[in-house]
């Protein structure tokens, strides 16, 4: 299943990602991405494609490299370390959902054509898609889904709103999760639709986040899509859930990279900055705080990688969901602690935008909130714990 069979190959992947960030993503390159109105410089996106990282998470059946979530996390951590602005996590995991659904998906020739057309373009970086799974007022809870798809003659009509869609500005299409009243099933089912960015009735409100990334709110005012744009098979709801976990966990990995970089800067600073005739790092009180940060970052990486390795091919097993919820809760808490400590231990210079740390700080603070903060994920974790207590043997969720 995995494109990279052993540790050596993983090390190689990390090495190439680190090299890219160090050599290819310096301050001026980053500045140009920050200044780009979509927060995604097409030249950089092409580079990510050429390195194979956009094909990596696409299933082999979907024409990709069939890389695992774990491997996506290895890349994401390095991109986070280098403060890459381009929405790798958001768009690569959206592609992974599309590709995963591809094998059983095309119900008709038209859809098959779509699939054949989109996936190679995603892998090549020629097109970009974003996952619109979250709705306004739901704080990254994935369950509420007020967006409705109503059947029409040739397909569906979509109505509703999606919010904080990372990577949406400049994307060519969106995977929109909508509820469908399925004949024969009780209640509605959540189904993803591939909706092109220029579809009539689709309104995009783009904005920048305080960490320099870009996102958008989407409004669907009777957007018509062909039947072939409905993605996926019977178990699609679980698949959506799985790729929501993918994006959440890959986001954790990216955050680990940014935490590690902030920590490195802070450690260096404290070793060189002198007050009262000695380095700040020689104060035991500060040493202990550096150690606490170090341990929190190590645990963050461990819990993130463990969650990535708990990924199951179909849907979200309780074990996977539980470790994903724990990982995001943990990483949110760690990131919050790390950014505040890095500012405090630097003193006033840690509050400035012109010093390199400032960008890390904003990124970490936003990362706490993105994809749900610890409040949300602890509640999710607790509900997994409830279920474990009720049924000692594995049950499905």
């Amino acid at each position: 299943m995995s494109a990279f069979e052993n540790d050596e190959q993983h090390a190689h992947l990390v090495e190439s990602a680190r090299r890219y960030v160090e050599r290819g993503y310096g301050a001026s390159v980053r500045q140009s991405s920050l200044a780009h109105p979509d927060g995604c410089n097409p030249a950089r996106w092409t580079e990510l494609a050429e390195l194979g990282w956009l094909a990596l998470p696409l299933s082999e059946a979907g024409g990709g490299l069939g890389g695992s979530l774990f491997e996506v996390c290895l890349i994401a951590e390095e991109l986070g370390r280098g403060l890459v602005i381009e929405p790798y996590v958001a768009c690569a995991t959206a592609g992974a959902l599309l590709a995963d659904a591809a094998a059983p998906w095309p119900a008709d020739a038209a859809a098959e054509g779509q699939c054949a057309q989109w996936l190679p373009a995603l892998a090549a970086g020629a097109r970009r898609i974003a996952l619109a799974a979250w709705e306004p007022g739901a704080r990254f809870d994935r369950q509420p889904c007020a967006t409705v798809a109503t059947r029409t003659d040739g397909g569906y009509r979509l109505r509703g709103r999606k919010s904080m869609v990372l990577g949406a500005p400049g994307a060519n299409a969106f995977i929109i999760v909508a509820r469908v009243d399925e004949p024969g099933s009780t209640g509605f089912v959540r189904v993803p639709f591939l909706v092109e960015a220029n579809a009539p009735g689709l309104k995009l409100t783009p904005y920048a986040l305080y960490d320099g990334r870009h996102a958008a709110d989407l409004e669907l005012d009777d957007v018509s899509v062909g039947a072939g744009m409905r993605i996926g098979a019977a178990d699609i709801s679980a698949r959506i859930e799985r790729f929501c976990e993918w994006s959440t966990i890959a986001h954790c990995a990216e955050t680990v990279g940014t935490m590690a970089a902030s920590f490195g800067i802070t450690l260096e600073y404290l070793k060189t900055r002198k007050q009262f005739g000695r380095t700040l790092a020689s104060n035991q009180a500060l040493q202990h705080r550096l150690v606490d940060m170090y341990v929190a970052i190590e645990e963050s990486r461990a819990i993130t990688q463990a969650a990535a390795q708990a990924d199951t091919v179909r849907g979200v097993s309780p074990a996977f969901g539980r470790s994903a919820a724990a990982a995001k809760a943990y990483v949110s808490q760690a990131a919050r602690m790390v950014w505040k400590e890095c500012v405090q231990l630097h003193g006033a210079i840690g509050m400035t935008d012109e010093y390199v740390l400032g960008h890390h700080i904003r990124r970490l603070a936003a990362a706490v909130t993105l994809y749900g903060d610890d409040e949300l994920h602890l509640v999710r974790l607790a509900s997994y714990e409830d279920a474990l207590a009720m049924a000692p043997t594995e049950r499905s969720f």
Binding site: L209, Y210, K274, V343, T352, D353, R362, T369, E375
Partner: protein, 394 residues
């Protein structure tokens, strides 16, 4: 509390004054969490000065009202919770009282009236790139040349230097003695030739900080406060003026009110956050800490009222008050959640004309700004050191 004025009646009078006098645009700007412009500050100063309330804690002979600390704290609390701008304590609490205590008659006559009228803005030039917590290692030089000091060097983190008419500045006048013994306290006109001010943009998006460069700036010797090389002890006692205020009860209550407003406005799962267990608990937790801070601070106020020394243990008020402000700002951001993420520089400045502004656009910036409370004015670590050494005797 027999000599205290009737604080309840005073509170009522204050509320009425604010209701009638606080200009709506200033109120809206403060409520929205935007940066208050210099022009807005000056208008508010004029209104307070006309009432005699701009420097009420100063002695009467210098234009004050001789208010007690308790009365002054009621004033802070009421103005904060009614969306009045935070008055620049560097001007009104630091340099004013310092000049009253150490200034020459000429310095008092020149500066106290415009400060009391609210027309003269001061900044504090202490910190330097290499002299932060270790302030005594400062290096900006002042050399005596005839009737002037010639000042060369730089200051950094100077808050609101861009608004300031004057700076009070610590400079090195003797490099041969112990660091603390070669420092002098100078008043410098910010319009003097040779001064350059460079704004520094913060992670919050505002430029509050500045770097100030002095290239052979001539400062008349009559702008020396106290004796040459006595600047350190003046600076140290100056810090004491502020001590009781440093619990920042008013500023905490300002933020508590904002958190409460967000709590009632934001809806989660069909109910206001104020009804959601996680938010209720965190909100109550912070209120608990505020109640403790207030109770603790009341003990120090009572000591000061009865003329007892307040002692180094007053550091605990600064320590706790600053941490609590940050906790309120964190709660606001967490409560807004995804709504706190979008950023627009334009939303941070300029007048807001909405009576009930959206609090989201400035929440993350205000939260970043609040990190300064545990760094400036003696960091939390330095407060810990003071408590450990001077109070616990370690």
């Amino acid at each position: 509390m027999s000599h205290e004025p009737d604080l309840a009646a005073f509170r009522t009078e204050l509320r009425r004054f604010i209701r009638e006098q606080l200009p709506p645009d200033i109120k809206a700007t403060v409520r929205a969490g935007r940066q208050v412009s210099l022009a807005q500050f000056l208008r508010w100063h004029a209104l307070l000065a006309a009432q005699g309330w701009l420097v009420p804690h100063w002695p009467r002979e210098h234009g004050g009202q001789g208010w007690s600390v308790a009365q002054r704290l009621v004033f802070d609390e009421e103005t904060c919770t009614a969306d009045c701008p935070e008055l620049n304590s560097i001007t009104f609490d630091m340099i004013g009282p310092t000049l009253i205590r150490y200034g020459s008659r000429a310095q008092q006559a020149r500066h106290l009236p415009p400060i009391a009228a609210g027309t003269q803005w001061w900044c504090q030039g202490y910190s330097e790139p290499d002299a932060g917590s270790d302030l005594a290692s400062l290096r900006a030089r002042a050399r005596r040349q005839g009737g002037h000091y010639v000042v060369t060097g730089s200051k950094i983190w100077t808050s609101y230097a861009q608004y300031a008419d004057w700076m009070f500045c610590l400079v090195r006048t003797d490099g041969e003695v112990k660091p603390q013994e070669g420092i002098s306290f100078l008043l410098i006109d910010m319009r003097s030739p040779g001064i350059a001010v460079r704004p520094i943009v913060g992670i919050h998006g505002w430029s509050v900080f500045n770097e100030v460069f002095f290239d052979a700036v001539q400062v008349p010797v009559e702008n020396l406060v106290g004796a040459e090389n006595q600047g350190w002890s003046i600076a140290k006692s100056l810090l004491e003026f502020e001590r009781l205020k440093l619990a920042r009860i008013g500023e905490n209550k300002r933020r508590a009110a904002r958190a409460r407003e967000i709590g009632w406005r934001e809806i989660e799962n069909g109910e206001p956050l104020m009804r959601r267990p996680w938010f209720r608990r965190r909100y109550a937790d912070l209120q608990m800490r505020l109640i403790a801070l207030e109770a603790n601070s009341a003990r120090f106020i009572e000591r000061s009222r009865t003329g007892q020394p307040i002692g180094a243990e007053v550091s605990m008020l600064k320590l706790r008050g600053s941490q609590l402000i940050q906790a309120w700002e964190d709660l606001a951001v967490d409560a807004l959640g995804p709504a706190s993420l979008p950023y627009s520089g334009a939303a941070l400045v300029g007048d807001s004309d909405l009576p009930t502004p959206d609090l989201a656009p400035t929440a993350s910036s205000r939260r970043f700004l609040s990190r300064g409370f545990t760094i400036a004015g003696g960091s939390s670590e330095i407060q810990h050191n003071i408590l450990a050494k001077q109070v616990l005797g370690l």
